[in-house]
Structures are given as C-alpha cells and as structure tokens.
Symmetry: C2
Subunit: 284 residues, 2 copies
C-alpha cells in the first residue's frame, strides 16, 4: 500500500510488522496474466520492483540476495556446468551464475516474461549478461519444465521464486522436488530461497522435511541479511544426494569476478546455524 | 510516530525507509531528565520499549542483540573477571554477562535509572539476574565513570548505548575511548554497538579510525541480524591492545548456560567481513 506522502509499505500481517520505502516516482504499473508488477524510483534504495504488493528487488540491496543464491551453491558443486534458474525473472541470479567460467549453459525459466522485459528497461545492470552466449531465457512454467526435462540433465537448480503463495506455490512441494531430483546429475544440487529464519522457521523446517521425503538425503540452510525482505534476515536451502559440505575454497578465493558481499569467509559463515534453528531442525 | 490504526513507525530519514510494529496497548510513557520512554504491548513482538522514538528492545528479538554484545567478547578475552556495561539499562546484556561463571564482578553504569526501573516492571526476564551478588547497578554518567575509574580496573567494557546522538553522543569519541583504554587491564577489550553495515558503514569505519587514534592497536567488527534496528542488520566493534583473534572455543562449546542464537559456529561466522565492508576498512 502507498500512503498520501509517497511511502510504499509491505505489511507482514502474521508478524505484526511492516517495512516501508520512500518513493520518488512511479515508473510503471501493469497487471500481467500472472501478477501485478509495479516499478518505482525510491529515495535511497534506487529502483524498486514490487510484485503483488511485495518488494522483490531494489538497486541498493539486491547484491546480497543474488550473490547468496548463486555463489555458495556453485562453489559447493564440484563442477557446475549446467545451471537452471527457476523464476529469477529480474535476471540478477542469472548474471551472477554467468560470472562463473565453469558454467557452460545457464537457462532461466521464468513464467512471466513481463518481469524480464521490465527488468531489461529498469534494472539494466541485472540484465547486462542476458546476451551471453551461454544464457538461454525461457518464458514457461518452471514446474512443467522440470516435469518434462530429461533425467540427469542439469548440475545446479536455483529456485529464485516469490513467496510460496500464488504462482510460486507449486515450487515448494514434494512432486516438484522429486522432479528436480530426477533432473539433477551426480553431485547435483537444488537450492531454493527459504524465507526468514525469524519469521518462517516452521516453513524452513517443513521445506527440509519435504525435500527429504522427495528423496534428497542431505539438506542444509544458509543465512544472509536482506533488508527489503520480511525481518531483514533471509535464507536459502540446499538439497542434494551428496554431502553439501564440499567447498571449492581455493576456486572461490581466486574467483575471477567482483562481488560486493560474497567471499570465502562469508560462504562458510552463512552455514552457521543459530541455536533456535538447530532445535527446529533437530527432528529431521 | 503512531498512526490512527495503532502502528508505531520508526523512520530512517537518511535511508528513505521505515520499520513499523503493530501495537496492542500503551503500557507506559514518561519523559525522564534524559529522554522520552514509551512501553507498548505489540501484536507479535511482545513488549516493546521505545526511547526518543527509536525502538530499543522487544521480547521477541532482543536475544540476538544481547547475546551478540556479550558472549563473543567474553569468549574472546582469556579471563574476563571484571565487566562493565555502559548503558544497557534494560539489563539484558547484564543478564547474559552474568551467565558466565568466570565473571566475578559485573557493573552496569546506566545514566537513566528510569530505563532500568521500567525494565524491571515490563521486561522481568531481562532483569532476572539483577539480584546476582556479582552484579552492581549504578545510575550515573558512564563517560564520567570511565574518566574517574582506576587504571587497569576492568577486563571487558561493553558499550550498550543508543545511537550516537543525544545522551549517547559522548560514547563515540576519542576521549571516551582513551579513558576506556586506560581502565582496561592486560588483554582488556572494549566492545561497542556500531550500527548497521548497510546504512552506517561510514560510521563503522570512522569508529575503527577513532578507536585506533585513541591508542587501540586492534579493532574488529562482527555482524548479526536484528530485525528491530535500521536495515535489520547490525554490528558490534571490538577494540583491544591484543590481537582479538583468540577464541576460547572449547569453553564456548561447553558453556554452562542456554542461548537462543549464539554458539561456536555463530561466534566465528559473525566475524566474516563482506567484500564491501572490507573495502571500507582497507585504509585503516
């Protein structure tokens, strides 16, 4: 909601709180077949994309999310040649994936082409690698994509979706995870954004349980700050048949690209599990 | 500010953003000689204390701040017997300090007695160790306290203050740090809350520089989530003549008390420095 003095607020009704951003100008608004997309210029956070009333991405702090949804998983996999990004229409995750020379093919599967077309206009930096010859942008249903894809056809699947309501709901269930597992090659890893440790620890625990029920033998969450998302603290969760404890530390230390948040210390730190979360995960 | 539908908002004017909490009831309001204190019951965060319009402490998420302002520094010092908490009137830091059996004396020096008296009523859990025979509660100016205190009379100084404006301003300057350094014994450590890495990286860098100018040879920041504070991401900064790399890991692993956030993994993780901060600190 936007009030009379130009503040956008995202209310977290189950957690009695809200985060607000001061807007400078509305740049775009449209209802797509899937969702309502709004683009604003803000006072301090740069450009801002809102989908169905939830903040998705800002110029100022997206580096945290995009770096953490990509580099930890890519430096955990021993040889990530083929990568899918499910969702991720702003292309920020795709851009980070393509920084890795070991990646031969990166396919982004976004259901709503308008997210990408608007990102190309309003977030050109996030889309600056879309012309990379290793990149392929598909605008189809990610659930259907993994259902139809060949066995062992990918090394890393990154699920960069909205919250588990609306179009993204089907990305958080056993059938989807089972399809992902079938598509993953040896040592393959699925990583998915898994909401706030402070607000959604139950969802995180349920996600681990569902991933294991789908056949993944190892699951592991990692944490990072994300000012724009509920509670300012966010998580990703990896699932694999391999141990998820491998870390190509020398490769990460010698990474041939710039980051703003990620380095080898941050990689290892992100996997530290607070006492209260360890208790939630104890029965898994 | 509180709107007509019972939401309290703290606006971060320099960062075009705000965090809001849904209130259930106002429990208290008073103007002390130092500041305005308000206490509310909230919908999800439990009890909330606001000082001069800034959120100070809530039942729900204070464990993050209080554990991180105490256990990392106490398990970095080789033998912390004598501890001062400057500020910290809600007594949450004092309570965490007193969990350490190696601490023989813990003195809280809070300028505004009303903060503590109201915490005793509204945050009884945070004040549950105030009767510990090792604890002493003083209601005097912390700046004057360190100016008057004897050389080498303390092992750890914890500066648990409000933001560097108003009554707390004098806790962020060279003269204060110089007094702290004089009061600290061998291996002594000063630790101070140092605001948000995302919003206040300049302040953090300035704090490191000022601490070094005051004579501390080593300074080191650590990071943790804190939903209630600006950007949801917060920091503390340690200063010492010793290396600050010691960690009594076995003692921390075998700690004889409960925590909700802190453990040995979290201790080490908190010191990981993101690339953008490392660049800010590079010239120190």
């Amino acid at each position: 909601m936007i009030d009379a003095s130009g503040w956008f607020s995202e209310v977290y009704p189950h957690h009695g709180s809200a985060f607000s951003l001061k807007l400078k100008a509305k740049l775009h608004e449209e209802q797509t077949p899937f969702q309502k997309i709004e683009i604003y210029d803000t006072e301090w956070f740069g450009k801002l994309m809102i989908i169905d009333g939830c903040t998705m991405v800002s110029d100022r702090d997206n580096f945290l999310y995009h770096e953490m949804m990509t580099h930890p998983v890519l430096y955990t996999h021993p040889d990530p040649k083929r990568v899918w990004v499910i969702g991720g229409g702003d292309c920020g995750s795709l851009k980070e994936v393509l920084k890795h020379p070991e990646v031969h093919q990166a396919i982004q599967i976004e259901i709503d082409e308008r997210v990408t077309r608007l990102a190309e206009i309003h977030f050109p930096d996030l889309c600056s690698s879309n012309q990379d010859e290793r990149a392929e942008l598909l605008f189809i249903d990610g659930i259907q994509w993994v259902r139809d894809a060949a066995d062992q056809s990918v090394d890393v699947i990154i699920v960069d979706s909205t919250d588990p309501v609306g179009p993204a709901e089907g990305l958080f269930n056993e059938a989807f995870y089972r399809d992902c597992l079938r598509c993953l090659g040896p040592n393959g890893i699925l990583v998915q954004q898994s909401e706030s440790p402070l607000f959604h620890a139950d969802l995180m625990a349920a996600m681990h349980a569902t991933m294991r029920k789908a056949g993944f033998t190892n699951t592991r969450s990692f944490l990072f700050p994300q000012c724009l998302y509920p509670s300012g603290w966010w998580s990703g969760t990896m699932a694999s048949q391999s141990a998820l404890t491998g870390f190509r530390e020398a490769d990460a230390a010698g990474r041939p690209f710039e980051t703003a948040y990620y380095n080898t210390e941050i990689h290892q730190a992100a996997f530290a599990t607070p006492v209260f979360l360890r208790k939630r995960f104890a029965d898994l």
